[in-house]
Symmetry: C2
Subunit: 457 residues, 2 copies
């Protein structure tokens, strides 16, 4: 076994920071999704970029796959060692290295999670906005090009990563980008590595863009007779340039699930949750404008919340939605889908998806970052029931086809991993070959997270 | 000659849309900078992506260089055929193909210029914000990753290109991205081609992000005793999150030049020009906040302008600055430098640059997109005087070194072309080799705009 000789060499480098214990392998063979447990041959915990470089060099010498691991919260099996090999767990590289408050940037190691970073930033008046839900590692979020509820205002990881340090497949350590706000100096390597899912290199340091904590925040929630009405209000707000910081859709089933699980008393109808960031007067004006749009369309009078505890209670409704949906069918697990379409097509995409789910044997409440045209269905299945599983995968497949037909993408924020690999050719055509050419140029042995994102050799 | 056999083959394809006339060759051998005229062997005017593909295939078959040309306004010699070959002038591919007002995007051919696009959009209430000064082609702006005065609010071309159609070095036509607002579906090829300066392919179609015309616009201009004070005010505004849509520095020499050339009567001291976009009340509040910051720092009372004609008059001061500076030394030409640093280093970078220019035999008024940490010196030289030229290139060299020392980049928005090639290794280290590997993978013959951006074979 090539992999076992790599592991022997890694053991002398890392000592007890390498494990082949069954519990560790099984833990790193899990994903937060419907994929079977896929244990790697070993797990290593490096402490520095130089050590990651040494690890990759040893693996390259033995043609052994190398898979980076953050917190294991990806949803498409990104971090599973599907061809065996070594998982590089970056959780010990978890330092916030430099806060440049004046420049509104921060340098972090990849194992820092987003909540740890925001705790560290609290005294500065700055925050890092990208919020994918899970308390993911920032390295994993960059590798997946994650986004979330605040993207409509603050952008995705693509927009919030200024610079990277990356270990390449041959062990070279490169830096991409700089701390300047913009640059025209050559190919955008930072942008190339963001979203590359560990297939081109391992991120060992990142410079992130920070944002000022707004002077005032105003949140509101508002019910609608149907999803079409809610989506129309959301798209109207976007199209008229209302500066929403978040605008989230929960369908009636999601709201019902949260009511039951968390004791809320919202009417069981679709809701929009919105938030505005700015000066006191600006957020008041924006909230009033939104209320006008919502009422004109036939929505309920928005409940607003400006005090932190009221806002937190309101947003807990959204943040607890996934767990509440899971709890609505005891023993079930969820296949969480993820598509993104031009906002003009969003109402149609959601309506067709709801009809499709209604005609299936399973349930699937819908949640959406509707300001971006991005939505998810949490398809609930009994994992031991092959019919449920097949129904979920069929629905997910038709959602992907629908997104492409409507000019969108098969994944707004969860990434490709293994779960969306089958759609890459359809979405990108010969562009997918170009991705393969870049992969071959930078990782000719194919050791970096093989089996993900690109066409398999 | 390989190139002449390529030209013979191209002639049968294109007829009178190929020229080898001296006037055409000389015209396409010019740049807006200090480079010597470098005529290509031929110029072609394709009418479609399919024709661009055929052109590239013919050139590839004869190992003939292919250089894309927009409006010829790049500043670092990007579009000069330094190894001969064929210039592909894209000015006949100048159609606005589809305006998707609801989705706030537009599909255009690469030869559309930014003012033509904005004229076409006028009735929609939308606009395309990136403004590099020149009325450049949008294809050229994408290829150079251009930005300009509005970048502090609306971003660069990187942020405003959603999708591309590109003809590769082997003639393949690919599409990158989609009309969805975001995607995690694989490598960001759109971002890779934006800023690649025609070295990886020729952009033949682009989908651009549009923005709503603001309800209200408020502009103001304010003088300061010295540049340090002006820069402090600009960085304070940015750091406190004031949503400036533009924030431009003109130093005392720039203001004096505009006063003389255009009949303004501003005090000959450094000025900031700012603009706010939003609702009536929001821009009024923002302008008042800015005025407070400026007065607290010791600036003059800002002159504000909200009516379009007053704002246009105010901004004409900035837009005419380059020509006014040129006119301040009759017969001179300008070597326009371009660096970008973290904003905390901006005051130091400008102060050192001013001292350096003051100690040189030439003059060089400074203009800056100071919200981004980006500034230019327009170094005035008598082109027939080798001492002037040497002084300008020395100053430019030290500006680049200074930017790198301060954690910045050698080009904020003008790009690499030939003029900044010598700094790529220093700025990127082994990252430049990675750019070369990508180039070799996608253009193994090296026919796409050879001699630019990457290490020369």
């Amino acid at each position: 076994m090539q992999n076992s000789s790599a592991i022997t060499a890694l053991q002398s480098l890392l000592g007890d920071r390498l494990s082949v214990k069954k519990a560790d392998l099984v833990h790193h063979g899990q994903s937060e999704s419907h994929f079977a447990n896929t244990p790697p041959d070993a797990v290593v915990w490096p402490a520095s970029a130089a050590e990651v470089s040494d690890i990759v060099k040893i693996c390259a010498a033995h043609d052994c796959p190398v898979v980076a691991w953050g917190t294991g919260t990806s949803l498409e099996g990104h971090a599973l060692a599907v061809r065996g090999g070594v998982i590089v767990n970056l959780s010990r590289m978890d330092r916030v290295l430099d806060v440049h408050a004046e420049d509104m940037d921060v340098v972090v190691q990849p194992g820092v999670t987003r909540t740890v970073l925001n705790d560290a930033l609290r005294a500065t008046g700055l925050f890092f906005p990208v919020d994918p839900g899970a308390d993911a590692s920032l390295g994993g979020m960059a590798a997946t090009r994650a986004s979330g509820t605040t993207t409509v205002r603050y952008g995705t990881m693509r927009d919030n990563v200024l610079a990277l340090q990356v270990v390449l497949a041959d062990g070279r350590i490169i830096r991409t980008g700089s701390r300047a706000a913009k640059s025209s100096a050559g190919y955008d390597l930072t942008g190339l590595f963001v979203g590359s899912e560990g297939t081109l290199g391992i991120i060992t340091e990142m410079t992130l863009r920070l944002h000022g904590q707004p002077q005032a925040i105003s949140a509101a929630v508002c019910g609608f007779d149907d999803v079409a009405m809610a989506v129309t209000v959301a798209t109207t707000a976007i199209q008229m340039g209302l500066p929403v910081a978040r605008i989230e859709l929960m369908d009636a089933a999601s709201v019902a699930a949260v009511n039951t699980a968390e004791g809320y008393d919202f009417p069981a109808q679709p809701h929009l949750l919105v938030e505005f960031h700015g000066s006191d007067s600006a957020v008041a004006e924006d909230a009033a404008t939104f209320a006008d749009i919502a009422r004109d369309a036939g929505g309920t009078d928005p409940r607003t919340a400006t005090r932190a505890e009221d806002r937190n209670k309101l947003w807990a409704m959204r943040h607890r939605a996934y767990w509440s949906i899971l709890a609505s069918r005891p023993g079930a697990r969820a296949v969480v889908t993820d598509v993104c379409v031009p906002i003009s097509a969003l109402a149609q995409a959601i309506a067709e998806t709801q009809a499709d789910i209604a005609a299936s044997p399973i349930t699937g409440p819908i949640l959406g970052h509707v300001g971006d045209g991005n939505f998810h269905a949490a398809l609930l299945i009994d994992d031991t029931n092959p019919d449920d599983r097949a129904a979920a995968l069929d629905l997910s497949h038709r959602m992907a086809q629908r997104a492409l037909r409507l000019g969108g993408t098969v994944t707004g924020e969860h990434g490709i991993g293994m779960g969306k690999l089958a759609y890459m050719e359809q979405e990108h055509g010969p562009g997918w070959d170009v991705m393969g050419q870049i992969k071959s140029a930078l990782d000719p042995q194919g050791i970096m997270n093989p089996g993900k994102l690109i066409r398999q050799a």
